[in-house]
């Protein structure tokens, strides 16, 4: 071997070593930039786009916000830290609800014990409202209402912690009042000048709650409770003076079920023979998906149906008509475009890897799908 060749090899080897060293070293971490993908076809109407809050698994601090822009047909993944680069530890741990009210967007970040308040159009952070173990939101008359599991603890043998609803001023972002409700309150909705709160009792297994708390908005005090079914989850009010309430059941003998409450009399007037994980009301159509788990049968069987809130009947037993439902592993959210009636279903997969958002036409055929953050769940439409 010639000397020159040897030196050449030595030079190459040291260069390679240097390269390896540089590649194997730590470097400063730059904040995440959003990723943009072209998806679907451009459409122009009064709805500019929608936000999707991805929950992120507990402890991962990976709650993320995605945005779909209808006009440009672009999907923007993980936009929060790029727009708000100065927020330490980004959006937070476990997103739980997302609402737009007025010009602001409110994101409930459950394990970060806060409601993140953003400008709805720009997503620039306005502030935060600290609410421990906060769950779901609704708004009325300039006030926001949020359910929380973290009320006072009764120091008895059972260690019971009552839940509450906090009222906050959307102008000042200050909590101005609290109203105690049942154990582990989840869904909340406004109808007939009253707040309806679904008490779950989810921490009290097997002693679940079975009531809706009714709070008078004017006095902000709990009036009474309506017994419905165990482990209540979501509530929403339709335009016919009815409230739709879902019960999770107990995963054993009591299956999940959908209930209807008359808001004039506050009496349960009907129930629909379907299990329900989550729902979305659009006009008179209640889109719901369910994936009833039973310890007895040890099975999942997802279904996607539409209930007509006027007739209380299932009018469509599967709103996904092209067989895409068979590839959805873990349905985790449903929403409907208020104008085009396109249907969005999210798939949370195994909770620790990125999910998928599926967009279906109103006929139920797949238009497009896109990778999201971890556990895609909550959608809020942005009007122009």
């Amino acid at each position: 071997m010639s000397k020159r060749r040897l030196s050449h090899i030595c030079f190459s080897a040291s260069w390679l070593l240097l390269l390896l060293t540089v590649a194997g070293c730590r470097h400063e971490v730059v904040i995440y930039n959003s990723e943009t993908e072209q998806q679907g076809t451009a459409q122009y109407d009064a709805v500019a786009g929608f936000y999707l809050l991805c929950e992120g698994n507990m402890g991962s601090n990976k709650a993320t916000l995605d945005y779909y822009d209808f006009l440009n047909a672009t999907y923007h993944r993980n936009i929060y830290s790029e727009i708000n680069p100065y927020v330490a530890k980004e959006l937070g741990d476990v997103g739980n609800d997302l609402r737009i009210y007025g010009s602001r967007m409110y994101a409930v970040i459950n394990c970060s014990n806060k409601i993140e308040v953003l400008d709805a159009r720009t997503c620039i952070r306005i502030g935060q409202i600290d609410v421990p173990n906060c769950r779901y939101l609704c708004f009325s008359g300039g006030y926001g209402y949020v359910t929380s599991y973290a009320g006072p603890v009764s120091l008895n043998d059972h260690y019971e912690q009552i839940g509450y609803v906090a009222r906050f001023d959307t102008a000042t972002l200050q909590i101005i009042d609290r109203c105690l409700v049942g154990f582990q309150p989840d869904g909340i909705a406004v109808a007939e000048g009253k707040l309806y709160v679904a008490n779950s009792g989810g921490y009290m297994v097997p002693n679940y709650e079975n009531t809706l708390s009714v709070i008078d908005l004017a006095t902000f005090t709990e009036q009474y409770r309506i017994p419905v079914a165990i482990n209540l989850n979501r509530v929403c009010a339709d335009s016919h003076g009815q409230l739709w309430v879902s019960s999770r059941g107990d995963y054993y003998g009591h299956p999940s079920r959908l209930y209807c409450v008359d808001t004039a009399t506050d009496v349960v007037i009907d129930s629909v023979e379907t299990s329900v994980s989550d729902f979305w009301l659009d006009g008179d159509s209640l889109y719901l998906y369910s994936e009833p788990w039973s310890y007895l049968g040890e099975t999942f069987a997802a279904s996607y149906c539409i209930v007509d809130v006027r007739t209380h009947r299932v009018v469509k037993s599967n709103f996904i008509t092209d067989g895409t439902d068979r590839i959805i592993k873990k349905p985790y959210g449903v929403s409907v475009h208020p104008l085009t009636k396109q249907i969005y279903v999210t798939d949370a997969k195994d909770y620790v890897t990125p999910g998928t958002l599926y967009c279906f036409s109103r006929q139920g055929t797949l238009l497009w799908s896109v990778r999201t953050g971890d556990i895609p769940a909550h959608v809020a439409f942005l009007w122009r």
């Binding site: 014990n113 989850n233 985790y332 620790v352």
Partner: protein, 705 residues
């Protein structure tokens, strides 16, 4: 061959003479690694060492022991294991933080951990927290891929994909001494105060006592820093905070009796450990401290007896009873209140027999050459586990396990081979609240083989070519099967199949600067099937279900090299390098983004470098640990990227006699040491959102008499 045996015997007696203070052995002209390798070959069984021609193990071992183990800045067994190749530690940070070990990416449940010869079980979750085993009275930590190079062992020794042996100090009395006492005080950052005492007494010539006790307290607070940049390079945010709720308070006490008899020995040990610690938890937005606490109390009594009944037939009896309690409290009012209390009990009995069919000679008898050495062994174990807990709908599981292993070992000139077949029978009994009668669940009997072969092509050289195959499984744990709302009663075992091919070369030099040099390299392929993973279920609440779902292929390479230099002026310098490459691919679902991705927290490249300088009583140790880039999910996308991390640790220790007079072995001696870990104050995470400590240190004072 005869000569080598003689050397070994001489070395053995030398070790015994040079006594319990391993540093002294180094001060004399014995190479550290040579002494180590002798100790390894003979496993310090002074009484019943069989004089076999081939001392080199069929199964390669990675071992740390004696002075090298002491010189590394390690607080716990988990810290020491960072120096082994093929090993990944999941470290949640801090003194009391959980530390689990994953060998060759098969998952921490596949590592069997043996404490003084008997397995430490955790029927509840299958994971042994190696962070809680102190290094204070540890004499040897050795890791085998597959199983130990020994067929005369209990059936459980055959039952894991990888096996870790922790051996505590055995009493050795030198220079006519009848007792040894050692008092140690360690203190350092995180508010660490760690006094310990060891007392050894020669009761009779054939009966020795060892007792040790240790207390450790640390407040566990340390600064950590997170920092992000804008794309322009300006600082976006830069936050320093103090890690909270990482305090730990723990007690350990052990008493052992060591008995020796003609052609036999026995050992009985009592162990007690009690701890309370805070669980520091994940650092997430708006949450900078956590309140969860955990109490552990582990107690066991164990014993074993080995005896040669007639020439060529030995038996080994082992027994253990353990009682472990764990309480977990989540008092955080922003989370679900949890106060769980679990008690596990285990009864274990084992009997092993070995028949030497050919080539057996006891050490005391005259050596006879034999071309073939052939042993067969049969061992049978019975184990009974219970778990009681205060969960709602809890089923109070009981488990009966019967293991029978048949094994054979053959040395035929330059070929060594070992084969074993393990059969496992598991029967669980549940007490479901709704049912009057307990229900019985019989798991399918399992038969799992292993074959190890080693070949020495050049008779004069310590060069070995070897290969092994092992098929083994882990049983679903009580938590996997029966944890209220999460467990899945219909789970099947999770299987691993390992294929390994390796080379090893060692050379000793009687003269010259290089005293010893050695290297080994192994390539392997592991296949994990039926992997038990948590799959989400239910209606939006965080509910999980355990399923036999995953599939992982692991292609890896472990390489180690070591060298010892004999320098002028009684200076010895030794260095060891280890490197691991692993491609651990998730092949669970071809339709997912995770397909083909590197599984969570497994780096492609990792390694360590240690250097050790000895001069009389002075030891200077430097170590560097490197873990390359990883992803925290098998979805290998940029948001899941984890940076490499690497730490430089250094320690200096000096040992000296406290008085000049007297015979050297009876003179009180003192050791003073200083350790600095993470010298360059790297701010890193091993696990997402669990910040690790920056620069930290410790001082150690030890008096021995």
């Amino acid at each position: 061959m005869h000569l080598r045996l003689l050397i070994s015997v001489c070395m053995l007696s030398f070790c015994a003479m040079s006594g319990s203070q391993s540093l002294m052995a180094q001060g004399d002209s014995v190479s550290l690694s040579f002494a180590d390798s002798v100790a390894r070959r003979l496993t310090l069984d002074e009484v019943t060492v069989s004089a076999r021609r081939h001392e080199e193990p069929v199964v390669p071992v990675q071992a740390l022991q004696g002075s090298r183990l002491q010189a590394l800045s390690t607080q716990s067994v988990a810290d020491a294991m960072r120096y082994f190749s093929g090993v990944q530690i999941k470290d949640y940070g801090g003194v009391g933080g959980l530390k689990t070990v994953d060998v060759r990416s098969m998952g921490s449940n596949h590592l069997g951990v043996f404490y003084d010869g008997i397995e430490i079980g955790n029927a509840q979750n299958g994971t042994v927290d190696l962070g809680k085993f102190s290094m204070e009275n540890m004499e040897q930590v050795s890791l085998y891929n597959g199983q130990k190079s020994e067929i005369f062992q209990s059936a459980k020794d055959f039952g894991s994909a990888g096996t870790l042996y922790l051996r505590t100090r055995r009493p050795r009395f030198v220079g006519g001494k009848s007792y040894n006492v050692s008092l140690t005080m360690k203190a350092g950052t995180f508010g660490l105060a760690n006094p310990s005492v060891l007392y050894e007494q020669r009761l009779t010539d054939n009966l020795h006592l060892s007792a040790s006790a240790e207390f450790a307290y640390a407040h566990g607070r340390y600064h950590f820093r997170y920092r992000r940049l804008l794309p322009s390079g300006q600082v976006a945010w830069d936050t320093t905070a103090v890690r909270q709720n990482g305090d730990v308070r723990q007690w350990r006490a052990e008493v052992g009796l060591f008995g020796y008899m003609p052609e036999g020995k026995w050992h009985v040990k009592g162990y007690f450990y009690d701890s309370e610690k805070g669980i520091p938890g994940a650092i997430v937005n708006n949450v900078w401290k956590n309140a969860q606490r955990q109490w552990d109390r582990n107690a066991f009594v164990q014993g074993n007896l080995t005896k040669t009944i007639t020439q060529g037939y030995d038996f080994l009896l082992s027994a253990k009873y353990s009682n472990d309690r764990m309480r977990y409290l989540n008092p955080d009012t922003t989370l679900m209140y949890i106060d769980n209390d679990f008690t596990q009990q285990e009864v274990y009995l084992s009997m092993a027999h070995r028949v030497i069919l050919s080539g057996a000679r006891s050490l005391v008898q005259e050596w006879q050459s034999s071309p073939v050495e052939w042993d067969v062994a049969l061992s049978a174990d019975y184990q009974y586990n219970t778990l009681a807990g205060n969960l709602a709908n809890f089923v109070f599981p009981e488990r009966h396990t019967v293991l029978v292993a048949a094994a054979s070992q053959l040395y035929w000139t330059y070929v060594r081979a070992q084969a074993s077949l393990l059969s496992t029978l598991v029967v669980d009994k549940l007490h479901q609240p709704a049912l009057q009668q307990p229900s019985v669940i019989r798991q399918q009997p399992q038969f799992t083989p292993a074959v190890f072969v080693s070949y020495q092509p050049l008779p004069a050289e310590q060069f070995f070519v070897r290969a092994f195959y092992k098929h083994i499984f882990r049983m679903p744990t009580f938590n996997d099967l029966y944890y209220t709302d999460i467990g899945n009663i219909s789970l099947k075992p999770e299987y691993t199949t390992q294929y390994d091919v390796g080379l090893q070369y060692d050379k000793q030099f009687a003269y010259g600067v290089v005293q010893q040099a050695g290297a080994k390299v192994d390539g392997y392929f592991n296949n994990v099937t039926n992997k038990i993973v948590a799959i989400p279920k239910g209606n939006g609440q965080y509910r999980w279900q355990m399923m036999n779902y995953g599939k992982v292929h692991i292609l890896g390479c472990d390489a180690n090299a070591s060298v010892t230099f004999r320098l002028p002026a009684e200076v010895f310098l030794s260095a060891a390098l280890s490197y691991t490459f692993q491609s651990a691919r998730d092949l669970t679902d071809p339709h997912e983004i995770t397909y083909g991705g590197q599984i969570a927290y497994i780096p492609w490249h990792s390694g360590s470098l240690t250097a050790n300088l000895l001069w009389r009583g002075l030891t200077v140790n430097y170590s560097f640990i490197y873990v390359g880039e990883r992803y925290h999910s098998s979805a290998n996308i940029p948001v899941n990227y984890e940076q490499p991390w690497y730490t430089h640790d250094m320690s200096v220790s000096y040992e000296f006699a406290l008085a000049r007079a007297g015979k050297s072995h009876n003179t009180p001696r003192m050791q003073v040491a200083v350790e600095i870990n993470n010298m360059f104050n790297q701010q890193y995470e091993v696990i997402l959102n669990y910040p690790m400590p920056g620069i930290n240190g410790k001082g150690i004072v030890k008096v021995m008499f």
